[in-house]
């Protein structure tokens, strides 16, 4: 049951096969591409600020897939049908979290290579950036899932979810970008810890949210 569900969720979200688009990744690279044009090709400035720009681009890219993440399947009655077959909402959301991260985390990490090249991020900075994104994107996915589930039954849910994600993602952004500024990989431990906590609570919070949405 769980495996069938994961396959279905992945087919739906994976940027290059299902109905989901490669949009977040394209958006992410586009920001990295535009930044040098906006501030000028000063290598020093780029090396200093480039990492932060990549983090902001990653955070904004995380907002893009939220609209379809949960609301669509609530409207379809998909979760209702699974519930009747004995699957708990928590399990559905845990599977969705995995599928969501797989569809947006690894492609983003791959896109970091061209983005870093455009922003002249090299050497140790680059490896810290990559590790930071690896540790941080599960947390971003977890926040995104919780917000998508909470706002699914609201009419302006999509607009609201972007606003809600930003403050919640601040700890990840601060530690992630902070590790870059100080070229200190140890700070990434905080990113990983924040992510872990968020991933642990997300299925329960999102599960409760879709149950509450039914009571309407």
């Amino acid at each position: 049951m769980i495996l069938a569900l994961l396959r279905r969720d992945l087919a739906q979200f994976f940027p290059f096969t299902g109905s989901g688009a490669a949009l977040p990744v394209v958006f992410f690279v586009a920001v990295a591409m535009l930044f040098p044009f906006a501030v000028g090709p000063d290598a020093n400035l780029m090396a200093k600020t480039g990492g932060g720009v990549v983090w902001i681009a990653a955070l904004l890219a995380a907002i893009l897939p939220l609209e379809k993440l949960v609301a669509r399947d609530i409207a379809l009655g998909f979760f209702d049908q699974l519930r009747l077959r004995g699957t708990t909402e928590e399990a559905m959301m845990a599977v969705r979290l995995i599928a969501h991260w797989l569809s947006f985390g690894p492609p983003l990490l791959l896109a970091t290579f061209p983005a870093a090249a455009l922003l002249k991020i090299e050497g140790e900075s680059f490896s810290i950036l990559l590790l930071g994104l690896l540790a941080g994107t599960p947390g971003l996915a977890a926040i995104g899932l919780m917000i998508a589930a909470l706002t699914a039954s609201l009419r302006a849910g999509a607009a609201l979810s972007g606003l809600l994600l930003i403050p919640l993602a601040l700890p990840i952004l601060i530690f992630g970008a902070g590790a870059l500024a100080r070229t200190d990989a140890a700070t990434l431990g905080f990113v990983a810890a924040t992510s872990l906590l968020l991933v642990a609570i997300a299925p329960f919070a999102a599960g409760a949210a879709i149950r509450a949405a039914r009571e309407g």
Partner: protein, 203 residues
Amino acid sequence: MQAPSPFLAAENLACRRGERLLFRRLSFRLEAGAACHVTGANGAGKTTLIQALAGLTRPYAGEVRREGALALLAERTGLDPDLPLAKALAFWFALDNAAEPQAIMARLRIAGLADVPVRYLSTGQQKRAALARVLGQAAPVWLLDEPLSGLDTASQDLVSALVREHCAGGGIALIASHQPLDVPGMTSFAIEDFAPAEEDAEA
């Protein structure tokens, strides 16, 4: 394979939508082979009742008891609109270990639509596809919410036939509809009979 005999029962059930009490003191018990037709005007609470019976929402008061797996036909079909019909159904057929999915699709006259994405299907075709999902589930208890709406006469007769067969095989069906079904021995009640009197409507 002798599972305990299926039943579906409501005891003193009361449900609200928003702040409004829709019905209260609703009790019934359906044993194996029973079909029950719930009638009521739009907004009287048929769908709310079905949702509560399915265990998807918690009733305001009272209790739902059930033995046996449940199949639900609701307005929301659960079928992926972007997938071709055969694939959208195949997901549920695989989950439910449906026997003879081809025969089920042929029976509901949707076999010819296998390659058409679900969102291009008409209301009636989507309803028949959802019925195919219900059949594939082979659950003893059926909850059908407006199974006849959007269907042509031939398909309406087919729904009646499916319910007759289901009940003859020891299944239970509760059908919420404002259209008549041709099922002998079917009991029925109007949900309005359980609507609260004006003075206690403000629960």
